[in-house]
Symmetry: C2
Subunit: 684 residues, 2 copies
């Protein structure tokens, strides 16, 4: 219901974009972006409406303003720049503008005067006295503007008032438009907004740094990083690999959990229920520093605030963090909020777990399957505030040690309200932090985690393989509303997922999936060196199953030392693709992704565009057979004329082709040249 | 940000439908409807979620509940009946249900037991002690339910507690599921909702009576209703026509403004600027009872609360209102909030108008055109509250005289905030009122007027003539979100609009547009007897224009006496179509409208469905040539099997055809049989 105080405000504002869940969550943008705001703004009747965009960083008190411009049918748009990380607020202001209405009406009145200056009286359409009266109305409006202005501007406006009044007093047979364009502009600078409508509640935009939108992740197990056969790898061994990883062109080096690994119910190789004495266990079963039977580090806090002693010390860790930066990359840590029975929280805070009727702590289970090595946290705990604070402090502990990027394990099994609070508080204090959600769950929880604060998310990419699947999924991800809150990170493999297409398709399939991940999504990642080496042997399927997406001899349960530069390695292709991604802004965002037709269902064709230029990708989705066909390019999307000839240059092979119009022939060979990434060279 | 008190609530609710502008406005439904509510409801992890729909009439304090049922991917739905006019409120409640999770888990545990009852110990998947422990957990959950129940139900639940405890104490080698389905159902009746999430803020549904959704309007000028040539018609003359109008099958008899017509600047015949002394003027130029130089009626209030004396007295009016009801119809009055210079408000409340610098009142103008017979109200008046109250009282004045339906003239030239307040207050007090907005304006203001309270609206139907135009427009109107707040009323003609298609197409075009209006939209109307008589002569185009949509010798400015039963009249066709509309529920709503293909762009094919049956319409849009072609019916939408034969019966001609599958031949002749309205007869 309208509040009585607003009874004279005639402007309506609705359909504002961007808005996530009707403003409950912020839209996401990147530092330096221009945030475009669209809305429907209108009033009753025929008076002219004006509108302004109000915006400010959340830390600022005063609104800044930007103009809104009207399009057809009451659709308005405007934009504001975001030059600072963190939360921004915006709103809209709309008002009936009597001055611009008056200018427009006066011009029509003047145009309707009899043309001959000497003609007696006004024309048939304009009554005698209409124009002098209108001039007096204008004088009142300008006087009001003068009251809002100061100094020279106020004096200039008062001069206009005098001019209008004098003209009205000196009734003439013919009038010219009485104001200079400077005077009109000046009056428009001081609109009467006393009856303006302001949108409530304020809307939010969260601004991240560039890496939130554009990043290439490389995951490795530090314990496998040693060169000496059989030795447990250390942070120092990871450091030794940094030049190679940086040379491949990655931005983010992501390590699975580096905390002590629990002893109780430790899993053996290939996820067997009983571990051999020398089995290293899963890094995701987080235990206590005591349990690993090694002397505790100085300042060790146990559990999630500890380092597995065989990896190194806190000093070693911080050295690696800094060395990673030296190589132009950042380190990402894996935060997995679950505990092995050894974990100090189990002893110190049993109230944070579910207690069974016999007083024991409930382990993870999916009846009848039991995961006794893992105790899940109970987010319905009566001491939920204590639990939340402790989990928050885990992130802060590692932030204080130089980490700004976190990959969060299974966030969809922790309470959504916790994430909203925790990520909100962390991002508010450390707005340069980035959180990747391992949200392999149903669509609603996956998107909700993004809405409540995760910066990037794993996706269904791994299970989207056909042209239809990829097209429809990317159309969903790259467009609002999803693109306003969800930043996909595409992984062709992870330590948990070796998709059937890779198992069956081998090296050519790895090349296809690499190409798709790196060019469809601005954020992508891989688990290496398993990926470079195209490891494709799956684990034995579980009883009753015919397939497994797990790796055989999974690195999750044992040390796997490998040479990523072995014959057949994809390192050169990865380096080439990452170089192209860095050199071409088109691949550094998803919003301009556009699919083009082809006459072959195995050929996927799409483009991405930046101010710098457009890239056009064509991929053969078939890992076995050569595929050829004709493109059906959307020339409008590519900004090409219908009959225009143009050169396309394949950035992978440096080959140039002369193309013309929408239909061009393409032939691609699996394993050799499975895809084109074409730079469109104009003006041939 | 999550409120700390909600920290333990794990359920998220989003994407609730219906919602109009994120809950700012109510969704609209009809008395007796079942309101279906959909939402995404989910929690972290794998526990089972339950949800309830909360609903109540706004006058009630206590929520009623209805179950919500889960579909795929966290999509839930439920419904509640609305058995009372006015505002309803609803919300959703979701919680993690530990009891149903426990039942599901226990069944899995039991299924994994060794099959042989005599086998020692538990099976390989289930540890010894798992089941007794689970039974103890169940006892705790049932005890909680027992605490919420009373009397017999509580006793039954406690019996179940005892049984589970006894079974757990008496550790067995093999267990059956220990609860009866009655016990499970009873426990589910008393869920633990202490950590439930309730959606806020509450959402709204406004419930109208049936006529809001389904109505046939007939507009006539009472002053033309006399049989004696030249005499000014009266309410009594309208009464004499009621049997004829009722026989045509209309529900609503709509009269243009019945108030005194202003004398000052009165328009002459064909909208000429100067009226002859005997010109009757436009009923939309509302003046004072004094100005018409007739003795005032008793209790006359002037202006919008007066009756034009030549039409009759208040007693005559109320008699007509009652007689209209006797004939199964309702009267609708036209409320036009504008004043002729004679209007009493001009003298009594000049502050409600715009005052020009010379102290005169601003007349309506679109420079250089001037409409000096009309003073628009100024909704920016400092006394806007006084103005709002007075306008409100106009509606109430006529409501007190038995009128419940209003057609509001040009509502888009009055402040939107006023309508929101005025219609809100009126509908709250008189929930059986219906307001039709003559909102011939841009899409946003048109829809906004519906959102803030208009029950029905004029539309762009008149200007949608081709198959593409009709299909795309109706797809917009008949589906959410538009159908949740906007009820279209289709008019093939009005006193202001004689569309070019009728001017050019003559009688066959009138038949087509009648058929389309009456079968595409559940609400439709016509301006008669101009429509029945297919009057198609347009006024002289305005200077500089080549076309006019005004009528020649428009009834807006003069009395036009006609015999609606003259040769060639459409009265029989109108009566037939209105009869079909009344007999077939399919035509009494728009939500089931479904377009089917045809291979001829001049043949429009669509269906509407109700529990009673499906009607299939095929219209030849060409008023000149015979058109024939093949349908491409969506058999799924029609609930027909692919190869099924079925009989379709044309309700206009009573002809029956045997059809089969999607492709059937249709041939339609303009003027003779321009359309089929086919009842599908199943089971042939």
């Amino acid at each position: 219901m309208i509040k009585p105080a607003n009874g004279r405000s005639r402007v309506v504002i609705e359909e504002i974009e961007p808005q996530v869940n009707a403003g409950r969550h912020p839209a996401r943008r990147i530092l330096g972006d221009e945030v475009t705001v669209r809305a429907a703004i209108f009033a009753d009747g025929h008076d002219m409406v004006r509108a302004q965009l109000l915006y400010r960083h959340a830390s600022e008190r005063k609104w800044r303003t930007a103009p809104m411009t009207a399009g057809v049918n009451d659709a308005w748009s405007g934009s504001f720049p975001v030059d600072r990380l963190g939360m921004w607020r915006y709103s809209l202001l709309g008002w009936v503008d009597h001055f611009t209405t008056w200018v427009s009406d006066l011009r029509k009145r003047l145009a309707a005067q009899p043309v001959a200056a000497g003609a007696a009286g006004a024309g048939p359409q304009t009554a005698r006295g209409d124009i002098p009266l209108a001039l007096r109305t204008g004088a009142i409006l300008l006087e009001h503007a003068a009251g809002l202005a100061r100094g020279l501007e106020a004096r200039k406006l008062r001069e206009a008032v005098h001019r209008l009044t004098a003209l009205a007093d000196d009734a003439r047979a013919f009038y010219e438009f009485p104001l200079s364009s400077d005077q009109v502009e000046l009056a428009e600078k001081y609109p009467d907004r006393s009856l303006a409508t302001q949108w409530e509640p304020e809307l939010l935009v969260w601004v991240d740094r560039e890496r939130a939108r554009f990043s290439a992740w490389y995951e490795l197990f530090p314990r496998s990083a040693a060169k000496d056969p059989g030795r447990h790898g250390t942070f120092a061994d990871v450091e030794a690999q940094l030049p190679e990883i940086a040379a491949m062109g990655f931005d983010v080096l992501y390590l699975p959990p580096i905390h002590p690994i629990g002893r109780a119910f430790r899993k053996g190789k290939n996820n067997t229920v009983t571990a051999a004495p020398d089995d290293v266990g899963s890094p995701w079963a987080i235990g206590d520093i005591q349990a690993v039977k090694a002397p505790a580090h100085k300042n060790d806090n146990g559990g999630h605030k500890s380092i597995h002693p065989e990896l190194g010390t806190f000093e070693d860790f911080e050295h690696l963090v800094n060395q990673t930066k030296t190589h132009g990359m950042e380190m990402a840590l894996d935060i997995a909020f679950q505990c092995s029975p050894d974990h100090p929280w189990v002893k110190e805070h049993p109230e944070w777990f579910t207690i069974r009727p016999d007083g024991s702590i409930q382990y993870a289970e999916n009846p009848p399957k039991r995961y006794q090595d893992i105790y899940p946290l109970n987010f319905e705990s009566a001491d939920w505030r204590g639990l939340w604070d402790e989990l928050y402090s885990v992130f802060e502990f590692w932030i204080e040690r130089g980490v700004r990027i976190f990959r969060v394990d299974n966030p969809h099994t922790k309470a959504m309200g916790f994430w909203e609070w925790c990520l909100g508080a962390l991002r508010n204090k450390y707005p340069d932090t980035i959180f990747l959600a391992e949200a392999f769950t149903r669509p609603h929880p996956m998107y909700w985690l993004a809405k409540v604060g995760f910066t990037q998310s794993y996706t269904y990419f791994t299970w989207r393989n056909t042209k239809y699947e990829l097209t429809s999924y990317l159309e969903e991800l790259a467009r609002p509303p999803v693109s306003d809150f969800f930043r996909p990170n595409f992984w062709p493999n992870t330590p948990d997922i070796l998709h059937k297409s890779l198992q069956d398709g081998g090296r050519p399939a790895f090349m296809i999936r690499l190409f798709l991940a790196a060019t469809l999504a601005a954020n992508y990642g891989m688990y290496g060196p398993a990926f470079e080496l195209c490891e494709s042997a799956p684990a034995t399927p579980a009883p009753g199953k015919t397939e497994s997406e797990e790796y055989l001899n999974s690195e999750k349960y044992e040390i796997r030392q490998r040479d990523r530069n072995a014959p057949g390695s994809l390192v050169p292709l990865i380096a080439a693709i990452n170089r192209i991604r860095r050199e071409h802004a088109a691949l550094q965002q998803n919003e301009t992704l556009w699919f083009h037709g082809t006459d072959n269902p195995q050929l996927l064709c799409y483009s991405k565009t930046a101010a710098q230029g457009t890239l056009l990708m064509v991929v053969n989705l078939d890992p076995v057979y050569d595929q050829s066909g004709w493109t059906d390019l959307d020339l409008v999307a590519l900004n090409l004329e219908p009959a225009e000839s143009y050169v396309v240059e394949d950035l992978l092979t440096e080959t140039r082709y002369t193309w013309r119009g929408p239909r061009n022939y393409v032939a691609l060979r699996p394993g050799l040249q499975a895809a084109h990434v074409l730079r469109i060279v104009r003006g041939v």
